[in-house]
């Protein structure tokens, strides 16, 4: 899709808006996996929940989402933003494991919780988690505490723990995790003194 607008009343299957370059898709329902796969531009809004691999490339390819905006009002599954190279994904619900896995650039905002392993293998880009996460993977190092983060002109207030990683991949990705929602991560603060 390169331009125009599609409104879906109901649920959609896999590969919604794959390789999309422009235009807008609104789904008044749920979407299955690979919504916005390898997306290069445009806007997808899913008013229900979405499956796994949001913005991710087709199996085997390394060319993940490189531009555009995906908004998911409900929850999303595993590996949201896998191999993402640009653009923005906003999830207003919660996500499951491996959020932003192998991510190269771009921004992922999760208003809800994350099931874990956020940012594994990420090289660059930003992940912001406003809810709870059980733990941060050990190849991330704490960098600072930030009062807020800006995402596409919208100010998300914190405070947030800011982690840098994935060091195992020489990554410089930024992982922001809400301080208020994650008191069990307070032990990281001693490394900031």
């Amino acid at each position: 899709m390169s331009k125009g607008r599609v409104i879906v009343e109901g649920n959609v299957g896999m590969h919604l808006g794959e390789d999309m370059r422009g235009g807008e898709i609104i789904v008044n329902g749920n979407a299955d996996s690979w919504a916005g796969g390898s997306m290069r531009g445009g806007r997808i809004e899913i008013r229900g929940s979405a499956g796994d691999y949001i913005g991710a490339p087709y199996r085997g390819s390394g060319e993940g989402m490189s531009g555009g905006l995906i908004i998911i009002c409900g929850d999303a599954g595993r590996e949201v933003g896998c191999l993402m190279r640009g653009g923005t994904i906003k999830v207003y619900g919660s996500v499951r494991h491996f959020l932003g896995v192998n991510m190269l650039d771009g921004t992922i905002l999760v208003r809800g919780d994350c099931a874990g392993e956020a940012g594994a293998g990420m090289r660059n880009g930003r992940i912001i988690i406003c809810g709870w996460i059980p733990s941060i993977i050990p190849t991330f190092t704490i960098d600072s505490i930030r009062p807020s983060v800006d995402v596409d002109g919208e100010r998300i207030t914190g405070p947030f723990y800011r982690f840098i990683g994935d060091i195992a991949d020489n990554g410089e990705g930024k992982l922001f995790v809400s301080k208020a929602a994650n008191p069990h991560l307070s032990h990281y603060e001693k490394y900031l003194q």
Binding site: Y58, R59, G60, G62
Partner: protein
């Protein structure tokens, strides 16, 4: 069924026919003098070009390596698929199509014979199984023998005749057609994490040099009277400065030539024609290689043209594939085939704006255009290493049209454009020369007597392209050339119409050509000079994961067997 192809412009270089309007008669799968016009199916080829069926001397289409490539690259299949029709099976794949699709796509372009050049003998069974599933086209496959332990041992000890007997056994046991040598000695060195740096570098443990391997197998080739020459992938392939190694490789067997017959084929020469000492100052060595080839008759080449596209590189040259993995950072496969060879696979994208890639593109075309005699250089992309074979029509248009080359030159890396020799080359190939580089020359190099020409008695493998050489100027209207060669108006295989206007209308099984040495055809008997069967069995038990009994492929294993009977001088 008999066929009569009327009024086509026939290009048949082996018989010296250059665009004459004539009729061709086909009966019983062969070209004949005449047929009964009333009973024959008549094809009106007026205003069209008639050529022998295309022949590809070097294309990786079957075997464990290709299949691993398919497995590695699901994304290669995602957007290129063909649905089932009443005649064809469904299939997928762009740079590494599935077996059936490979056969259909070759047939659509008018190709009827392909050579799978890289078969580890251990994987021969798998290779033949896939070749069986590659319909329409006839095929042959070359076992990799340049790093086989027994071969190295014989050559080290100077036992050429013994080596010849062993190679004969290997070719018959694997149902192969020619001797393939990849980075001689380098693959064995790769087992020790090393590579050979030159033609005179020692191979670890074996105390032998690549020069001795190439010369030894060249002598073996002559003793065995094989129809094709040794098929060599040079040392230092893909490294800046390797053009010297390539010239040395060609020169190291010069004294073994008898008469004007070629004795060595340097395959995908583009990858072996780099000047310079690093990627930053890498330049074309095509001019030097062309100069050598123009002044010597013992060598033939194929291009290995690069196409600006996403493709999958795969070769038995494990150390080179490792380098490629390091350069690209892409996913990869590397494999040691016990006792015999190695292999590697790396997906790769050739980019117009990359200096190195654009220079490689230029080198392939420079080679084809600077070598004066088209009988010495053949059109290939080393499918899928330089690009998928489906791009051949594009290469034909580059070879036939200076304007087509300039169009692409405008889009490539500026530095590569400034250094390219292409702007100074005015040569444009004619349809006659295209017929040589895509079929007649290859048939001659492969020693295929019944293919690559349209003389009486030849196999009725014919391609008809809808382009009128009297009306179309290929130099200006290169797009029409590209269109015509992409979809043959008719492809006839063994006297049967298999493709019409790019649609498959019949999918017979192709034959597998292999060499049967008449004087040594019993594989399971001892031969005085060769290692005894008991010794072979013992070695297999010691070194291989398969038993000797499972290694040898019987003729009954081939779906449509076509043994070429020759007599070796052993």
């Amino acid at each position: 069924m008999s066929l009569l192809i009327k009024n086509g412009f026939v290009y048949d270089p082996i018989n010296g026919v250059d665009g004459e309007v004539m009729d061709l008669a086909v009966e019983g799968g062969r070209i004949v003098e005449e047929v009964n016009e009333r009973e024959a199916h008549v094809i009106d080829a007026s205003g069209m070009i008639v050529m022998p069926g295309g022949i590809d001397i070097h294309t990786h289409i079957a075997g464990a390596e290709v299949n691993s490539g398919r497995l590695l690259r699901p994304e290669d299949h995602a957007y290129d698929f063909e649905p089932k029709t009443p005649i064809t099976r469904s299939g997928v794949g762009r740079s590494i199509p599935s077996t059936f699709t490979t056969g259909y796509r070759y047939a659509r372009m008018g190709y009827t014979f392909v050579c799978n050049p890289s078969m580890p003998p251990l994987e021969a069974r798998h290779t033949h199984e896939e070749l069986e599933d590659t319909p329409i086209v006839d095929k042959a496959t070359f076992p990799l023998l340049g790093d086989w332990w027994f071969v190295l041992e014989y050559l080290r000890d100077g036992l050429i005749r013994e080596c010849a007997e062993h190679v004969a056994w290997m070719i018959m046991a694997t149902k192969g057609y020619a001797i393939k040598i990849v980075n001689p000695g380098g693959l064995e060195a790769w087992g020790f994490g090393r590579n050979v740096r030159d033609l005179d570098d020692q191979v670890p443990y074996f105390n032998i040099t690549p020069r001795e391997i190439i010369r030894g197998l060249c002598m073996v080739n002559r003793i065995l009277n094989l129809p094709h020459t040794i098929h060599v992938h040079t040392n230092r392939l893909g490294q800046p400065g390797n053009y010297i190694t390539t010239i040395k490789t060609m020169d190291c067997v010069r004294d073994l030539a008898v008469s004007d017959r070629p004795i060595i084929h340097i395959t995908h020469c583009q990858f072996s024609a780099f000047k310079g000492d690093s990627w930053a100052n890498m330049r074309s060595g095509a001019e030097d290689i062309a100069k050598y080839v123009n002044s010597h008759s013992h060598v033939t080449l194929d291009m290995g043209q690069v196409i600006f596209t996403d493709t999958t590189t795969m070769t038995a040259d494990g150390p080179w594939q490792y380098t490629l993995y390091e350069l690209s950072g892409n996913k990869w496969v590397n494999h040691d085939v016990e006792v015999e060879t190695s292999s590697g696979i790396v997906p790769f994208r050739y980019r117009r704006k990359s200096y190195v890639h654009a220079t490689m593109w230029s080198i392939g075309l420079e080679l084809a255009l600077l070598i004066n005699d088209p009988w010495k250089i053949y059109l290939t992309t080393d499918h899928p290493n330089g690009g998928p074979f489906t791009f051949y029509p594009r290469i034909i248009s580059w070879l036939m049209s200076r304007r087509a080359r300039e169009k692409t030159l405008e889009k490539i890396n500026r530095k590569a454009r400034a250094r390219s020799l292409l702007p100074s080359i005015d040569r444009e190939l004619t349809f006659y020369e295209i017929a040589i580089v895509t079929r007649a020359g290859q048939a001659k190099a492969l020693g295929l007597r019944s293919k690559g020409h349209l003389g009486v008695g030849a196999d009725a493998d014919i391609a008809i392209y809808n382009i009128n050489p009297r009306e179309i100027d290929p130099s200006k209207d290169y797009r029409a050339v590209r269109r015509a060669f992409s979809k043959a108006a008719y492809t006839i295989k063994g006297g049967r119409i298999v493709a019409k206007d790019g649609e498959i209308v019949g999918a017979p099984d192709g034959r597998t050509f292999w060499i049967n040495f008449e004087n040594m055809s019993d594989l399971n008997c001892d031969h005085p000079r060769r290692k005894s069967l008991d010794e072979l069995r013992r070695k297999f038990r010691e070194y291989w994961t398969v038993e000797y009994e499972n290694y040898v492929i019987p003729e009954s294993y081939l779906k449509v067997s076509k043994p070429i009977n020759i007599r070796a001088e052993v």
